[in-house]
């Protein structure tokens, strides 16, 4: 009787709960944060971040447990392999940093603590799904799950004009990106008759023979993902959105979104479309070169640190593309390595920006950092090392990361792109050093005094930043009064990230090993 029932039942895919457990931890964490928050009232402020942190820690723990298993779950729609799990470590590290940085932020209290953290967890879940996706449908689900919470988070500080504008802008541009992506995915499906990455690969085994349908599909997919990864010329939203969004959200978005987008780019292009490599590689190489130049040149004239880091993020996306271009395992490893390093460097930089933003009347603008080396070396050092790392100076992990990318490029026959990469690094020093010079060689300028009586208007043309509106809520006001002293969690995040940057700059082998494992999941390439 039972056996008859089983055979008669619709063939359901076997669900490997153990393999899915890192995802489940994040999903449960998000929902718990939301539910618990409803019943807690004011103490949600501390409890919900704690729940989220625990859930992320659980996800990391489960990832370590599953590491090396190399599973393909849910009817091969999702790969829980070393690449996914390695990138999950990076994502979770970013998540922890973002939650710690959000803890005393105005954004979380304005938006409501439970909702804020729940959204962050769900977005994280979406990113994890995206990097693991092995199927066009999973890819799109992950993509949307990543994006929609971020639209809301960008507008979390909804009493601030800039935040709302940022959220709306991101929603519109993001939707265009999503639509483009979806159209591209549909065309790929149309051309190959499969939504499965392995199926697409099989369909393309005999080369693509100038199949227009497929080529336009690949093109549109690339454009859709390029929007998310802020690759030029699809990057225009980045500075505006980054600037307007609450800074902890910006930090989260700048790092985690990029990790997710590159994770899926690697998997899509190096497994499903690997046979079409000769067709897409020149285009990706051109995009990489354009992105490096546009990002670095755009950053030169920025006064707001968040905008500068946004443009620098665009440039970094260009560097990351270099690892994709070559279509080799070495390239994948270099990209994964650089993603991890990029995460640490940006988290350190954003932590300092957040600390300054809370303490200085200039917000995130350059004058807020003037004289920081004298007044507050505890914050100046992480920023200095993070920026030197982003520029690729030896003794930081950024140097090793760039080195690895150049190595992959030369090895793959793209030495010219390596030159573009270092030329970009040279330009980038122009703006990184401006901040460092301001911190160590500039004169200190006024911090917000605890009693906020008619603070003088910020000097210089700060047209881009809207004035900070006083008092979103009582809680927020109290927070601002406290803000002139250092917050241990922000200092902690900044220093841990800095330590990571220095550690892997001097002893990179552990990270190499991890990246090596992540890179060797693609057996179809060399």
């Amino acid at each position: 009787m039972t056996s008859a029932l089983v055979t008669a039942a619709v063939r359901t895919p076997h669900i490997d709960v153990a393999g899915l457990s890192p995802l489940i931890a994040l999903a449960v964490g998000g929902m718990l944060a939301l539910l618990v928050g409803i019943f807690l009232g004011r103490s949600a402020r501390n409890v919900t971040p704690l729940i989220s942190l625990l859930a992320i820690a659980a996800s990391i723990g489960l990832s370590i447990w599953q590491f090396g298993e190399g599973k393909s779950v849910v009817a091969d729609a999702l790969a829980i392999d070393d690449l996914t799990l390695t990138l999950n470590f990076v994502l979770c590290a970013t998540g922890i940093a973002a939650i710690l940085l959000s803890w005393r932020s105005r954004a979380a209290s304005v938006a409501g603590h439970p909702e804020y953290y729940a959204l962050m967890m769900l977005s994280l879940l979406g990113m994890l799904v995206l990097v693991g996706s092995q199927n066009l449908v999973t890819l799109f689900i992950g993509f949307e799950l990543l994006s929609i919470p971020l639209y809301v988070l960008c507008a979390a500080e909804f009493r601030k004009e800039g935040s709302l504008e940022s959220g709306l802008k991101y929603l519109i541009v993001g939707s265009v990106g999503s639509a483009t992506l979806l159209y591209g995915l549909a065309l790929i499906y149309g051309a190959t008759g499969s939504t499965d990455f392995a199926g697409i690969d099989r369909a393309l085994a005999g080369g693509i023979n100038g199949d227009v349908l497929l080529l336009s599909g690949i093109g549109l997919t690339l454009v859709g993902l390029a929007f998310k990864a802020s690759v030029a010329p699809f990057h225009q939203w980045t500075p505006d959105v980054y600037e307007g969004a609450p800074t902890p959200v910006t930090a989260f978005m700048a790092v985690a979104t990029k990790v997710a987008a590159f994770g899926v780019l690697l998997r899509l292009f190096d497994t499903a479309l690997v046979n079409a490599q000769l067709d897409w590689a020149p285009i990706v190489a051109a995009l990489a070169a354009i992105t490096i130049v546009v990002g670095n040149v755009g950053a030169l004239s920025q006064v707001s640190l968040k905008r500068m880091l946004a443009y620098s993020g665009v440039a970094q996306a260009g560097y990351l593309l270099c690892g994709l271009v070559v279509g080799t395992q070495l390239g994948v490893k270099a990209t994964v390595f650089y993603l991890a390093v990029y995460c640490a460097m940006n988290v350190a930089a954003f932590a300092v920006v957040i600390a300054r933003e809370r303490a200085s009347e200039y917000g995130d603008e350059l004058p807020a950092f003037a004289g920081l080396g004298r007044s507050n070396p505890l914050m100046a050092w992480p920023m200095t090392i993070a920026l030197l790392g982003l520029a690729g100076i030896p003794a930081t992990a950024g140097f090793i990361g760039k080195f690895y990318l150049i190595d992959a490029l030369v090895d793959g026959g793209y030495a010219w792109l390596g030159i573009v990469l270092v030329v970009g690094s040279m330009i980038s020093l122009g703006y990184y050093l401006r901040v460092i010079a301001a911190m160590w060689m500039g004169e200190r300028s006024g911090d917000v005094t605890p009693v906020r009586t008619a603070a003088p208007a910020p000097a210089g043309g700060s047209a881009g930043t809207p004035p900070v509106m006083a008092g979103g809520s009582q809680e927020a006001d109290a927070e601002l009064a406290r803000s002139s002293k250092l917050e241990p969690e922000v200092v902690g995040v900044a220093w841990i990230a800095t330590a990571v940057v220095l550690f892997f700059g001097i002893i990179p082998s552990p990270l190499f090993e991890l990246a090596g494992k992540a890179g060797s999941v693609f057996t179809g390439i060399f």
Binding site: V410, V422, G430
Partner: protein, 509 residues
Amino acid sequence: MTLSILIWLPLVVAVFGAILGAKVAPKLAVLGSLAALGIAISFVVRFESGQDTLQFVTNESWISELGISYKLGVDGLNVVLLLLTTFLFALATIFANLREWDRPGLFYFHLGLAQTAVLGAFCAQDLILFVAFFDLMLIPFYFLTGIWGCGDREQRVRGTQKLVIYTLVGSLLMLVAAVATGVLASQQHDTDLTFALSALQELPLSEGSQQWIFLCFAAAFLVKMPAFPLHGWLPDGYKAMPLPALAVFSGVLSKVAAYGFLRIVLPVFPDASVHFQELLLLIALASILYGSAMAFSAQNVRLVVAYSSVAQMGFITLGIFALNEDGAQGALLQMVNHGLVTVPLFFIVALLASRAGGSEELKDMGGIAFRAPVLATLFLIVSLATLAMPGSANFAGEFLILLGVFDAKPAFAFFAALGVALAAVYMLRAFIRSMHNRVNPSADSREITFRDLGVLVPSVVVIVALALYPQFGLSKSEATTKAAVAQVQAKTGQLTAETSSQASEEHTP
């Protein structure tokens, strides 16, 4: 005692100094630099001359995935340079101690970091390790110039910007070139990826790849020296740098570049070195003549010394690209000589400026010797050494260089010899206008103090000692320089043999 201790000691001391604070940092830095000097002396004593192999080798795998090793070693090329570096840094640190610096912990931290980077670059026997240390050298000098530099904020910013941009253009191109060297060598010879210099010498690249890689390396080294067309950062950069930092920058960092040619470029890219020999000789010649002319016309004592460095570095480049043993030996000797005269010269600039109301312009000086005969005497000794007075070690160095060039390209040697004469002109001009001439009313001359003598006398003693016994360095380096130029000489020998055989073939029928 391994080389690692020597390299990292200054940094460790500097970190402790930065943590312990303003009171302890200066003293600790002096102790650290003297300890490093002591260790370096121990290496020189234990060094066995007459071998062309590496000694005191440390070889650990650093990044095994990329074939990068943490390989250090000493041979005839760098043993004396290590001594020079630690000696000059010790002098500069003591020199810095005579002044008050804002935030001293940070100041000595950067000085220590600089020393570690320079020593690392000299000891590195792995291409990537060398590049990493070479690039790292820039960072402390950026901070030293930007925070404690001379002049107002705008001048410092301009100085640091030019310094950083020029240097990095070279350095980063060198990074790509270095990666390409390893990767292409492993591809062209189908071996595992390695960046160890000894291995790369065995895996010569094809001539086409050698050429662009050579140009990238040459750009990096010529900027650092600086050599004539790439010296644009020099006036602003040198003017902005604080004098103790400038002394080691000019005394040691420029040597790292020259050393790079001997250590890396000649042995690893022999074909390209022969191919571009005349270009490099031309650059060297232009540097000599241009540097001399500018030093002759500069109104600022510091710039006189700065441009004289350009000329001197031109001589060193000339010797290296004679591509023979005499030239290389002379270049190496001249590196040591120039380092030894530069630090006291910049120190004297500081002393002169303090007597001329803080101005470094020649017009504000004059007649200082009148009340400061000891200072004048020491300045004269250093000047005579700089202008390569016969009997000084500099004379021996320049003589060897010219001898080497004369062997290789006589025409270049002829024009380069003019540079020797010009050196006398600009050094004596600076000496006379500052020390003699009419007593300048704005100058307030006084005798050199005992504390200042503590810095100046050791360097002058070493200059005199080396003048009496120039063999000290030469005998140690002889075997290694021979090996360093052997590759290139084989190529030049080959070329002449081929042409002569072609010629003879043409004649036989």
